[in-house]
Subunit: 121 residues, 2 copies
DNA sequence: TGGTATAGTATACAAAAGGAAACTATAGGG
DNA sequence: CCCTATAGTTTCCTTTTGTATACTATACCA
């Protein structure tokens, strides 16, 4: 296992918005710019553009421009992008376990605080 | 697969330095503050402290303080922290594949550029 | 002539992250 | 009395990110 390769992987999917774009694209074969924007509440056009460009640079997302007016651009997950699915799956599973772990830990801390309170009383 | 859980997972290990701390801690049962600092070139004390605190908050790293002077503090991967290993492994593998993918893609682009050059000549 | 729609850019600003360097505590050694 | 060592904290500054808002092009429609 190499820290440098982990870094490569993280760079591809990390960012405030980047991995949030992946999910709508997993569920829809193709998506248009404004469609993505509607799916991701709070994102600005600038952020959506820049994050899509970065995903494109990593060849995770494919951008197809139609020479029309008004413009039409379709985004979709590339074949290479789909190779991320198992990792996202695993992270999702671990994320859930992690959240549960922290929740029980915090409950225990609250119990201990109460005990201490009684001891001091 | 849930975007929110992936987010939980990413939050735990993302940051310019956080995952870089994990590797020395995987290879050594316990490590002291300055030992970690030496292992991670370029990190400042402030960053090392803050990232260690965040890992501790997520219960990925355990901090043991010895009441000595000069101070002695030992950091180690918690049991929960060790549950990250399969994910790091997978990310490392994907990161290598990803780097290779981008490399061949770029080579092809260079070839195509040369072809275009000849065509125009 | 003016409004609509799409997929963006451009500009200005605010907030967050990160870096550099100085400062802290205190036991032991010279 | 000063120096060393460890594990930080504090302050100030710079860089990076992100937000808000306005602006662009152009075919079609009324």
């Amino acid at each position: 296992m190499s820290e440098c390769q982990v870094n490569n992987a993280l760079e591809a999917i990390v960012g405030k918005w980047k991995h949030k774009l992946l999910f709508p694209l997993l569920n829809n074969e193709t998506m248009r710019f404004n469609e993505l924007k509607r799916e991701i509440p709070g994102i600005t056009q600038k952020m959506l553009t820049s994050q899509l460009r970065e995903l494109e640079d990593h060849d995770l997302v494919t951008r197809k421009v139609y020479a029309q007016i008004p413009p039409k651009v379709e985004y979709s997950l590339s074949e290479h992008g789909k190779s991320l699915i198992p990792i996202l799956d695993m992270m999702s599973e671990w994320g859930a376990a992690h959240a549960a772990h922290l929740a029980t830990r915090n409950e225990e801390q609250i119990k201990n605080t109460r005990k201490e309170g009684k001891e001091h009383a």
